[in-house]
């Protein structure tokens, strides 16, 4: 099974044996790889009960919960690493969610679609309508992505919070690209953060 590009880069950079919380773990694809290939103690949180059910059936430890509310149930420093993939833009308060990630984990991996990707900009400029793309495939009124964010916006938030960027990776589709002009060129981004 091959992981989505952002998950693959996260899987490659999580320390072996780490205690990991995957927030918004879906059906547990990343957790399974982390457990099997890196000997991690992986836990998950997922809002969709059917996805949780599938995780449990795979032998994964996943709690049904809402990242906006239920991360408060975890103690400080509960994990070496907290992962938030393609979920930041769905949070009620992404800034507070980031605080929670770095409270319960010493380190965090955050991936998100970049709303400043040039195709987005072009689409908005040319058509004057909210872009619908492969990473943001749903119309504005039914999308779960209620807080669109750009690479620059995210960096600014990290600066304001004093969060350290340890590494970052940028992608168009499944292909990794360099960090130059990432705010234009990247369709989605992954950041490795620490307090």
């Amino acid at each position: 099974m091959s992981l989505r590009a952002d998950l693959a880069v996260i899987a490659a950079h999580v320390a072996p044996g780490a205690r990991v919380l995957d927030v918004g773990c879906g059906e547990g694809e990343l957790m399974e790889v982390l457990q099997r290939e890196k000997g991690c103690d992986a836990r998950g949180m997922e809002i969709d009960p059917e996805a949780v059910e599938r995780c449990v059936a795979r032998g994964l430890s996943v709690v049904q919960g809402d990242a906006d509310r239920d991360l408060a149930d975890y103690p400080d420093d509960a994990f070496d690493c907290a992962i938030l993939s393609q979920t930041l833009q769905t949070a009620a308060r992404p800034d507070q969610l980031l605080d929670e990630l770095l409270r319960i984990g010493r380190r965090a991996f955050v991936s998100f679609p970049n709303f400043a990707y040039w195709r987005m900009r072009f689409s908005l400029l040319a058509h004057g309508r909210m872009p619908v793309t492969r990473h943001l495939p749903v119309s504005w009124y039914e999308t779960q992505n209620i807080h669109h964010v750009t690479v620059e916006d995210f960096r600014e938030l990290l600066r304001a919070k004093g969060v350290t960027i340890e590494q970052s990776w940028f992608f168009t589709g499944e292909r990794e690209i360099g960090g130059t002009s990432a705010n234009w060129r990247a369709e989605h981004a992954v950041f490795q953060l620490s307090r």
């Binding site: 205690r19 059936a57 994964l60 709690v63 149930d73 975890y74």
Partner: protein, 367 residues
Amino acid sequence: MASAGALDAKSLVLPDPLPLDSGQRLETVRVAYETYGELADDKGNAILVFHALSGDQHVASVHPITGKPGWWDRMVGPGKPIDTRRYHIICANVVGGCMGSTGPASDGPDGKPWAMRFPVITIRDMVRAQVALLDALGIAKLHAVVGGSMGGMLALSLAANFPDRAKRVLAIATTARHSAQNIAFHEVGRQAIMADPNWEGGDYYAHGKGPEKGLAVARMAAHITYLSEAGLTDKFGRRLQDRAAKSFGFDADFQVESYLRHQGIAFSDRFDANAYLYITRAMDYFDLAEEHGGRLADAFAGATARFCLVSFDTDWLYPTAESRHVVHALNAVAAPVSFVELSAPYGHDSFLLDVPALDRVVKGFLE
């Protein structure tokens, strides 16, 4: 699918007296149990299923009194989620019960029924007795403990008090403590029993006639708490029972009245009223945090098992918040825990009924 074939009705007398949370002890304790499926040579495939308040050891075998299938026949059997072709399933009647394990209807040391002289027991006392049963059967470590409702309390209590006895703990539609509302409903039931003139302070065994009416009322009140409002409306609405118009009297005009009366009578035919008093008392006394210094996380400090909690969105008796409370405590001690709230229309009783998602969770978690 076929029902599991239970072996002969079994019981054994525990080799040692049973110490109780009250400070008393029961000198002689019989535990009645049923088993299904073969025990592996290494004894590693045993699953202990705990029954709920009104249940018994006949989890997947025909009930000897009612002639009905076991209470979890849909879950336990060959090819079913708790698969008797893979696992050795044990289900024992709780101490304080009335289906063969020592309880208030059993003879006391003087040869007369214990009745209200039976010591008040707790959920932990019930667990102690079943751990003693496991010892007697030579089963050191269970593949899993599974229980719904009171059975879930027993499963959590076993995990907290005997953390090395089970590899997996599956607690469904349950709570770590009885709430004021839970206690209140039970008190209604107990008062209905004790208000029945045939109760006679509990000494009704010699009369041949016990407080059946009181017990039936207790069951009726409790049964309402097991269902959801939407479920009741869906099943009965305001429909009348075998009549075209209201009778302007106090017969069971409505179908829901007739149904509850039937439930009450059927229950009093098979259950001992004093056992109902003792078991509901045990549930009311249950507060797993209180047993462990007031902090629920401390109850699970030594836990090594994997946990799975399941709640139902229409269960207002032990609502989702109660399961979350347990999950929170397990997170605090970094125990591996899964939790899911399933959607089902039947209220608390969902754990006993046709909820395919529950089947998948149970099967998957036991793998």
